[in-house]
Amino acid sequence: MNERVKINKIPSGVPGLDEVLGGGIPELSFNLIAGSPGSGKTTLAQQIMFATATVERPALFITILGEPPIKMLRYQQQFAFFDAAKISTAVRFLHLGDVLLEHGLKAVLGKIIDEIDRTRPKLVFVDSFRAVVRKSEEHGQLDLQSFMQRLSLHLTGWEATTFLIGEYEERELECNPLFTIADGIVWISQVTDRNSIVRKVQVVKMRGQGQVPGLHTIKITEAGVRVYPRLPNPDRPIAARPVHQHRRKTGAEGLDLMLGGGIPTGYSVMIVGPSGSGKTILSTQFVREGIERGEPGVIAVFEKRPDQYLSTAPNPDELGKLVASGMLKMLHVRPLDLSVDETMEEIAAAVLAIGAKRVAIDSLSGFELALAPSFREDFRESLYRMVGGLVGLGVTVVMTAELVESYTDLRLSPHGISFLTDGIILQRYAELEGALRKVVCVVKMRGYDHDKGMRLYEIGPSGIVVGETLEDYVGILTGTPRRTAKHANRGEISR
């Protein structure tokens, strides 16, 4: 018989936070929500409170100095989670700033205990607890350890789940007794890099639970706080990689032949080429081909707005109809302070919404620009996490990447990211018979044999049309191919 105590987990009501916490807030736990000023501690705490408090599980929000409560109420009710109907039925506020100033810590403790005895809250929030810590340092005051011990014991006795909110510095983690006593520590930080600010949350500890380690991006909008769990989440079950025998046709018959039947399902493929080579067209063609086969698709556009994109793509009317039919979702991701996790969540939500099987990301250069500088610095890691996350959903991903044409070295991708994808399709310009022609080749298709030849292609009204292999030429990648001696007299290649 299993006699171990079962720790119930309370859903926090903050999107993404439960996953990071390891399932939710452990009932009866004693937690710290810590971080720098303006990082969103009070907002997070109130969002948790309004989401979790009920008449049966009432909450008490105690304010002690810090942000004046009248201002806190004024600003917090701008968030969608603020529910005035819960106030005084499920949520009670108690301000003890005056008590602390006039009568000290002992009186504050007495007031908290009285209020808890009287109202029996199941959720208790103390904001800002930093004021208590500062007061405890004054001569003649109750010391922090005693205050904490008595408060913690009382709250546990009343079976309350507690959150102490306060401003702390990271160095205090090692020496402040508060951090030792706490069952859970949620740390919020703000990173300023050039013109962008990125907020991050870290679950430093959460006793009895397997929290997801690392820094997770958070965003605060009118809806409140949203956490974007870092990817890949080591504890999240990963979708079994699809069996690759099945191929996703690209819509360009000749290219499918080169690929050995199409792109293997669940693969990530990068289409690399210079400006104007038709990368966007091929990626759109891939998604459109899928839709024709009953596989919904998502196109995430990072450079153009969806209407601009639709107006320049082949058969824009047809694409517009696919969007209207719900088989195609266009995402426009443009802000300059995005995190990779946000982008990933947005694409993943679109994939799940329409059951997409194919995703096109156009382009990686635009994606890099859309990221906040701190994420751009580690673009490879960002991309690795995003590709891993998307492929984990079971979709087949194509990404476009612009490559400045260089005829003296063979670069397969900007930023050295070619190893992150399963396959690479390279587009190049070459001068043939006095004309600028387009050439495509499959550089790699991990685990599968593929055509190693280089083929001419044209861009037609319905997309890319791949032609014959340039068997008679050498030096194509130099941009100025030469006919091989044995075929020198065979005549012109067909266009």
Partner: protein, 145 residues
């Protein structure tokens, strides 16, 4: 859910004021004054839970200053620093006639509640008033329905 349309808030507060102070029309001014102060103390106590004693003190002082444009005798009540304006208010209104007290109380109440509403929102104030005077709120609901 209770509804307190902004336009009917003043009427509602008039009803509350009349109801709170009109229990005994033959009261001495001191009796009416006591009931007015008790009503304000009751409201202040509830608001204090939300915004603290300092916050209530500041709101009351501002309300008295605004209401004293109509009732200049209210001005003296804000003169003692560090003390709740309600202490001085009681002394000041005891010196007035019953009808003046009722009018001044209604104005003070409306000013205080209006100020609070502008700061923390009408929705929150509605719930607060319902907690403070459930009976009076029921009457308002009845009247506005």
């Amino acid at each position: 859910m209770l509804k307190h349309p902004q336009a009917s808030r003043a009427d509602f507060l008039d009803v509350v004021a009349a109801k709170l102070l009109a229990d005994n029309p033959d009261d001495e001014p001191s009796g009416v004054a006591a009931r007015a102060v008790i009503a304000l103390e009751r409201l202040a106590h509830h608001v204090e839970q939300l915004v603290g004693a300092t916050g209530v003190g500041a709101l009351l002082a501002r309300s008295i200053a605004l209401a004293s444009v109509t009732f200049p005798w209210l001005k003296v009540t804000a003169a003692v620093p560090g003390e709740s304006p309600l202490v001085q208010l009681r002394l000041a209104i005891e010196a007035q006639d019953g009808s003046v007290i009722t009018a001044a109380f209604a104005l003070l109440l409306a000013t205080f509640v209006g100020l609070l509403g502008r700061l923390i929102g009408e929705g929150l104030v509605t719930h607060l008033l319902h907690d403070v005077w459930p009976g009076a709120c029921s009457q308002e609901v009845k009247e506005s329905s």
